[in-house]
Symmetry: C2
Subunit: 276 residues, 2 copies
């Protein structure tokens, strides 16, 4: 029995969809969540910058004595998971591999669609993860930058969201995919709208669900499960003012949250490119 918490970070509120699945799947576990809201979003930033931010986030959570780290952000997983696993010696789980595995298991047509932020899609991480599992699966990808602000605006069920989804997704539908992987932690909030556009014949895969299942397995394998011990807690930290995080977070987590403000001493220094 190991009562230390599971650490989870995301660039902002999106990772709360992963936290929700973790709490539902493993109700005995405590968690510490960090939303890097002072620097959100990661989706449009470079790999070097995102990796520097991810290392700072991991260091902060590890200082809270976590037993396992979930990188609950697709962009940070795409760019920084390997680097984090190299640097730190606790188990570290990203959201990409579990989602990719579930998508490959689910597809009958061997045609998988993947949607995400510009950064996640441009990184090619889902494409490579799926190909690494099954080279023969055809992967179609599409960046959908408006989905995050639509979810945060609470417009997931509006005509604007449906029109936007049609604009982004009709090509994927016509390509003949039968599985669509939601490669961004915000997208589960748009499931109904995405499903409306894609139709019943296309199965939606939620990385959050796949990731929670993998974490559950890892805790048992490493013999660090809390095993339903009584007193669990869920603690939240953000790097910018807590008000907006708590307000938007409630849409994701359907609960009252109390959040503490911390700060990162940013020490990363990208090399000067000298381009001019």
């Amino acid at each position: 029995m190991d009562k230390r918490p599971i650490g989870i970070f995301d660039s902002g509120v999106g990772g709360l969809t992963v936290l929700r699945e973790v709490i539902e799947t493993m109700p005995g576990e405590s968690t510490v969540y960090l939303g890097d809201t002072a620097r959100v979003p990661y989706g449009t930033k470079s790999g070097e910058t995102v990796t520097a931010y991810a290392i700072q986030n991991a260091e902060f959570l590890i200082s809270k004595d976590i037993k396992l780290l979930i990188v609950a952000c697709n962009t940070a997983t795409a760019y920084a998971l390997c680097e984090l696993q190299k640097r730190f010696d606790i188990p570290i789980v990203g959201v990409i591999e579990p989602g990719a595995e579930m998508a490959v298991s689910a597809t009958r047509a061997r045609q998988v669609g993947v949607i995400g932020t510009e950064g996640t899609i441009a990184s090619g991480a889902y494409f490579e993860a799926i190909k690494a599992i099954d080279q023969k699966v055809v992967v179609r990808t599409r960046a959908c930058p408006l989905f995050v602000p639509l979810a945060e605006e609470d417009w997931a069920d509006t005509d604007v969201a449906r029109l936007t989804a049609r604009k982004y997704l009709l090509d994927l539908k016509q390509d003949g995919i039968d599985v669509l992987l939601l490669g961004c932690t915000h997208y589960p909030l748009l499931k109904k709208t995405i499903s409306y556009v894609m139709g019943d014949e296309v199965e939606l895969i939620d990385s959050a669900v796949a990731t929670a299942a993998k974490v559950d397995r890892l805790l048992i394998e490493h013999n660090i499960s809390a095993k339903g011990s009584g007193d669990r807690s869920h603690v939240f930290f953000v790097t910018d003012s807590p008000e907006r995080f708590e307000e938007v977070g409630r849409k994701f987590l359907c609960s009252t949250m109390q959040t503490e403000l911390i700060t990162h001493e940013s020490t990363y220094k990208p090399e000067e490119t000298g381009k001019k």
Copy 2:
């Protein structure tokens, strides 16, 4: 004659609409632009965080020997202009006051609408600026968070943009405003769509145009105009990788750009709130 450049900063690409007006209004002037793309957007961040970022941006540009600074970001102007004017001894111009002055001059109905990001609207800065000029003008405000991603996605002229604009703006139209102030540097890209929703009877005020006119007056007042001297230059810096900035920037500036990457040593430390 003063050949030193004008400094301009924004959280990202949006301030390029201000730069464009500066170049058109004062073709003899050189400029140095800084887009804080590693930390964009400012619109959802707290006043304390945005002020810390603005001070860093100003210090960087002042190190480039600028003669005047334009804060080409509504959120940064709302939160940080006074602090910047206190700290630095060159003329510093924000985008809010010039826009407010132009809006008050333009309204016949004494009813002005203001749209912007969540941060700008929540700050109340436009409301106060307009009331300071004419207490009797009725001010209606509305945050429109989806307009920025729509502009950056190059969807300004789509049915999604028109539907979104209707959803945000119909209440303002029904309130009887005759002037609508575009309180975000991205919004000039959506002028056509906003105008389509608001109708010909509502005049749109572009803060970028108003700001450039004010800078032109200030250069002459302070006797620091370049007076059309031959060799001018336009230099660009960003805090994250230049590729996306250059790609998106072209939609704003209609020109080829070459951009240099710099970094901020982030040393600000917001007080711990201790909330938990």
